[in-house]
Symmetry: D2
Subunit: 337 residues, 4 copies
């Protein structure tokens, strides 16, 4: 039984484990104020090209989204999201738990555009409605699609004109950047957003997300929010050590590249056998449509998620590759189609 | 420079690291539904003598307290705590963040009693005040003291009579149980409380707390709450693997025993030199009163926290030992006094 | 300048003012525990045919919805609403402010159906998503439409089968019941819902909504929630006195009948002149489509709300009648079309 | 049976009722944007000597405190209050409901001082604790005491130096200003605080509190918060009309003067009979200590609250006078002592 269920089925890349083992018995101060975290923060500032960026480490993505959005918004303000957005669907109301509405629109391929955002902004006219203030996008999206520089620039410009924050959920940012289908760089993203996070959990770390806050007005007292939301790791260095390793010798993009390539191999195999897809993904998730019969057969050898029943006979499934996915497994899957 | 600042200065006990390394490339399902978590849950059920207990793993203590208390209480209900309680002082309002007041009283040695609780219950008479519904105690307390069986039974009986939940914060439960100063066992605690947690972070795990919910009425849908609060770890097995190891061959109490013994060695050394203490602790934290001059001198070689300035010349400090504390370091400290 | 902007442009029906004046200098206890409130509660229990119903008075509708929904739901549970629902659009996130998501679907004429609800229920499968638990409907709806007995029974049955609460926002319940287009009675609604409120503000009271809680499991400690949400009126009797008067000699339905009849007169006038409508309303709100030119002209003599711009030349407006609307004003409006 | 239970036992001063009656059938826009509210706001701006002050009307005090404090604070910030403060004791956790801790200290006569506040500020040192940011004081206090100009200036200066907001709960501000025991004026309070409210409910209005926001940084988008908290009255003019009347021909202070004088008459009568008091109040509440026997006897003719049982034989009671209290009732009470 091989799992294409998600990109967090295994532990961490061996280099991460080694780094943790090597430093294990050292004494450091707690809560992310240690030297490893400091170094990792500087490394990330260099990579994103903003030495003034505030970097904060979190254990998981929902926690990152929840803490950041709750910190950035005033109580009556709302986040704008595609209806497929992770904060809208798969976080059990974690944003609403902090008192904020998520306002949504239907979005092609899971991607927002200035036109979609503008419709929402125009509808919210006065104090009887929430005030949309933060635009939430995922990159790569929940459907595996990616933003290119022109698209992100357009959203960024719209946000600046309308005094909105632009926040990027980068749980699978590595997969986007390594896909070869975007001209965006870390530096571009830092230039175009107010805050974004670099996902580690879904790209080879045991756990960990690195939030970069670029907008100066959002930086103050942020550590109070982390603690208040229950997100401050006692042995905070575990996050610093992991990100330091991920950003040594380009390991971060290398791992994503591996995942993306095997995902494309899956895609090619599926295309050759005539399967259709819900979205045109070049990252580490594929969403083919399969007959329920085929699904039943494949489930004897593979784990994967069924996303949506299309009709009585066909279902969308999700296949996810990761830093740890084995080429043989992909080949085996294609053979079994 | 040696640190007595806290019990999370190092990584994990080597056996924990080994267990994580050994299982690292296995595939498992996410979110704590894997076999390691299942085994760890069963192991803990056995140890606490309640096969029906619901066990949930968390990354940290504030998160555990916040999630459990928010799950157990109705919006208008409050937690009762000693004024020194972690939820009252050191969680940046994490309980209030979920909408609940923490009602406090001054408590000798950080310990609640039925008399102290009763005063609060009597004062809260109607719907113009919050309704105290959950009694929060820490064991060992924030001052290093411990509850014995008679004391916990008295509180438990009071709670049952007044329809209150009893919740024990066990961030340093190991240090309490290993101290030789309590007749309480895991089974007693499971019998006498509605929920409690077994702390891993401060006793040799990289991170991790195991919450046991004993009261059936508090069990339903608890995983929804974990996710909503941002506390559901994607690679949940990391928690299962660690707790399984901690509860193999009694490692858990062995580690605490080491910490407690070195703490007592510190205490004896301090007593011999004539120091006085804020509390009479037999666990892994000592709170001696020192002249500011002495503190300044010791800080050349040691890290520790200054807790409270007593007057212009004297300050309470906190010395914490852990599974990793070295006997030589303790001896060195005493010599330097 | 005559206003068709809403049904709360005037003060109260003169009988309400008289009742308040007459009792003004009497002494009563505060917070709705006085004799007038007691009498009004009993009167309402009689009218809805449930002597065990808990009746609570509120000053306004948003407050009622917010307090009731926050009281009924556990933190991770959500309300299901039509996308046009007042709690979704026009309460500035008051439900989310209490930590709960509002899950929505597009609904014809602002009305939910079992099919629409079922789609949402099926999509919410596990603890990674909120748990839909309460179905929110408005009657009459925000588009002026009403539920009949068969429709409400179908929703009620669906809710019972799926362990959902059914909650009816009755801000304009009077307009629905007086419309002649529903066979629903107060007793039916009390039989078919878990809770609903009887709106006073929009039907001749100075202010006031009467919440009826029918489901026993939702009754406990509700006054704590009212106070916590800031909704407990010191001189609570003002609410009791008003509802007592509204439910004396059928004043409540009489006032709504007046409003509905003048609304129908408006509708007839509009139809005769060839206007089209967004919804087929028989209650006190009409939603005709008008050219922007006509709107500009009418605005010289009348106040009303523009609801939605349909295209560059046409806009949906809202015309609202009330207990106080004058027949001449309606006639004048029609003449001016 | 005559009630000294509180200052909201009756309806409103007859002039208020007249004003409401006279304007009853006029049409106005909703939500406090009508002419009466505008006039009342200007009148209050004149009286407090700040033409730039933002004035917002609320129905009740808990709602005002909750909305203002939640609007002013960031999520991790706390309010500082005397332990007797209304927000700490008698609002069923309404502040915590919005996510904020109330940090308290024991305070003589219910009054805060820079020394008391400073102790709290010093104890809150880092991001592991809430950040105290707003100082909450009541004037007159919950014990009937008042601040003078020197005292308020000292607190105000401390707050400015430490970047804290100063907020005054003026539920019984009239009673303070009319007491003859303070040199404070409305203008002083507007100069020395960041926001305060002028209570109407407890001084002759049917209901109503007027919040004045003086600090420019706290003014933005405040109406969004009112709506979000469920506090926006549809027929908002009811508040404007009442405050306009209260501030016509000095009615506001005249009513309080009446209440204070009768309270002093009660006090004198009690002193003459040898009773002792918990606080030295010159406003409309007296807190004498009485034997339980006397209390039992008085309860045959009078309603009042028992505040605290001092020992087995003695209890503190609260006697409250109001705009409507009759001199004969006071004389009757003294006679019955």
């Amino acid at each position: 039984m091989y799992s294409f269920k998600n990109d967090y089925s295994e532990g961490a890349h061996p280099r991460i484990i080694e780094a943790l083992t090597k430093t294990n018995m050292e004494q450091t101060v707690g809560y992310g104020l240690d030297e490893y975290c400091e170094k990792a923060k500087k490394r990330i500032q260099d990579i994103i090209g903003d030495k003034k960026a505030d970097i904060h480490f979190f254990v998981g993505g929902t926690q990152t989204n929840q803490t950041a959005i709750a910190a950035f918004l005033k109580p009556y303000q709302a986040a704008v999201s595609a209806d497929t957005g992770h904060i809208n669907v798969h976080e059990t109301g974690a944003i609403e738990a902090t008192g904020h509405k998520v306002v949504t629109c239907r979005a092609r391929d899971g991607k927002l555009t200035p036109v979609l955002i503008d419709k929402i902004i125009r509808e919210h006219t006065d104090e009887h409605m929430v005030q949309p203030k933060l635009v939430y996008i995922s990159n790569s999206t929940e459907l595996g699609t990616v933003y290119n520089k022109e698209e992100l620039t357009a959203i960024s410009m719209y946000c600046k004109e309308h005094d909105l924050y632009l926040y990027m959920d980068g749980a699978r940012l590595a997969a986007a950047l390594a896909s070869g289908k975007t001209d965006l760089t870390f530096c571009d993203i830092a230039n175009l957003t107010d805050a974004f996070y670099i996902g580690g959990t879904k790209n080879g770390a045991l756990f960990g997300e690195a939030l970069a806050i670029l907008n100066d007005t959002l930086k103050k007292d942020f550590r109070f929010m982390i603690k208040r939301q229950g997100g401050m790791l006692a042995k905070g260095r575990l996050l610093g050590i992991q990100f330091l390793e991920l950003f040594t010798n380009d390991l971060y993009l290398e791992l994503a590249s591996h995942a993306d390539q095997l995902s494309m191999k899956l895609k090619d195999g599926l295309i050759k056998k005539g399967y259709q897809f819900v979205s045109d993904s070049y990252t580490n998730m594929q969403f083919p449509i399969m007959s329920n019969e085929t699904i039943k057969r494949l489930k004897k050898d593979f784990l994967f998620e069924e996303i949506e029943s299309l009709d009585e006979e066909n279902t969308v499934i999700r296949l996810v590759t990761s830093f740890a996915t084995k080429e043989e497994a992909v080949e085996h899957f294609i053979k079994k189609l």
